[in-house]
């Protein structure tokens, strides 16, 4: 495989993935736009794989130092991104199973 056909393959993947992304994300409920952004942020931090290779192969000091900082930055996005997305999604409750806590806090109000 020469470099230009590798390149064309990469372009195909990019364009097709862009289409999938567009179709999938168009259907995301506006209710969840904030968690969507923190989730895509965590997924985007997959760039960590490139940084890991840089650190692991240790080809030059500069590459290792840059790679090291890059792994730290991306990992914090992965961990923080998934954590906060999960916290946000846990908060979204429907009113049907929610009847009880509503009554409870209303009772609390009356007690005051």
């Amino acid at each position: 495989m020469n470099s230009s056909s590798t390149l064309i393959n990469a372009l195909f993947i990019f364009v097709l993935a862009g289409f999938i992304g567009f179709e999938v994300i168009r259907r995301v409920s506006p209710l969840l736009h904030t968690p969507l952004m923190s989730l895509t942020n965590a997924l985007d931090a997959i760039a960590v794989v490139g940084a890991i290779v840089l650190v692991g192969e240790h080809k030059s000091t500069l590459a290792t130092v840059f790679g090291f900082i890059a792994v730290v930055a991306a990992t914090s996005n992965i961990v923080g991104g998934f954590l906060i997305t999960d916290r946000m999604l846990k908060m979204f409750k429907s009113s049907r199973p929610d009847a009880q806590p509503a009554a409870k806090s209303a009772a609390k109000l009356v007690a005051k």
Binding site: M1, T6, A10, I13, A17, G18, G21, I25, V28, S29, P30, L31, H33, T34, P35, L36, M37, S38, T40, N41, L43, D44, A45, I46, A47, V49, G50, A51, V53, G56, E57, H58, S60, A63, G67, F68, I69, A70, V71, A73, S76, N77, I78, V79, G80, G81, F82, L83, I84, D86, R87, M88, M91, F92, K93, S94, R96, S105, A106, V110
Partner: protein, 464 residues
Amino acid sequence: MTAELGVIPVIIELLYLIASVLFILSLKWMSSPTTARHGIWAGEIGMVLAIGGTLLNRGMSYHLIAIALVLGTIIGVPLGRVAMTAVPQRTALSHAFGALCVTLVGSAEFYLRSPDISRFMMAVLSLEVILGGLTVTGSLMAAGKLQEILPQRPLTYKGQNLVNFLLLAGAVAIAVSLVLHPGARSLFPFMILIALTFGVLLIIPIGGADMPTVISLLNGYAGLSAAAMGFVLNSKLLIIAGALDGSSGLILSIIMSKAMNRSFTNVLFGAFGQVQASAAAGEEARPVRSATPEEAAAILSAANRVIVVPGYGMAVAQAQHKVRELYDALTKRGVDVRFAIHPVAGRMPGHMNVLLAEADIPYDRLIEMDEINGDFPQTDVALVIGANDVTNPAARTDASSPIYGMPILDVDKAHTVMVIKRSMNPGFAGIDNPLYYLDNTLMLFGDAKAFVGSIVRELSGAHG
């Protein structure tokens, strides 16, 4: 890459393929709150497979990688535990981190490969580090403004667009000469430097009200730079993840710019924050009607249908938990309470939904603008809490208004409108709001949290 791969590289590629599928499923499951948490699992499994696969590469030394992963986790955990009100700045900060990773890897790859870089590869690499670099500083600026470390007011100066354009042209010129002479290593740092400067200047003129668009746009840039990195490293997984993130950011930017009646090109070229500079003086004081918490409580308890319109002011006053108590008290009396969510209410897409969900308000009570706008004429009370421009009827009627044409929530069509507001000062954009002078509008002057609290006390006192 050659045709005959060993066993391990094949396994690695297969793991990357599974990770790509899981990433797509992860986003697909975000379509509804009932399936969204599966999406996190899919994303996490995909991430573990991809990182695990990468570690299978031959000839890697692991100790530094391990230290970096641990350090990243130590930084990431507190970033995942910030208060919900701090989510916009946290998001901006994580855009900066993501772009920092991409920029650093791109720079390292340049110095490892130069001068042996094909023209196309050099062009993509330049795109990667320019987009990455401007996203790093742009996102840090946005985070600083959101955290109020930096002034929230937009800073504008003469010739701003010209300066920005010249900088960008300079970066492109360097990129072109690097494409022609990839051995010119000393030019590379200047390209990065210009990109970093450009990011700062791009965000300086942005005010708080434009933040939802800006954050979405920076999200898109971060994704595109990661996709460019995928081209440079010939990593299909990275191209896919970058394309997904990029399209997500671009779609959100389009939704946000439509909700502010800006054209997408207007947004792309960063012509934000040009709304101010109007209104202000000239208006003689017109009469407004105001009401006390007791009166507001009486009107609310007599209503059948109430729509609450939350805005950034609610977030600033941290009033969402009091609003929930109000929701409970009214619901208990049989009043139908719903919430009308404008797409650009708050400081990032979906900001209000997250705050209200945190306060335990069920998500099926949070209604999008297009869906709820037709219901205002049949609504007894529209209660506006800390929202301003998104309720301004001038956007519908006054062609000279700077926000003319922006889709708004038609609160003025409700039988009674109540607006909780600190004072009559115009909102962030400095545009006067005719809503406040309507005959069916009652102004409730005070801090949002304290005022809603007083209403709740009245409501529970009357029947308690």
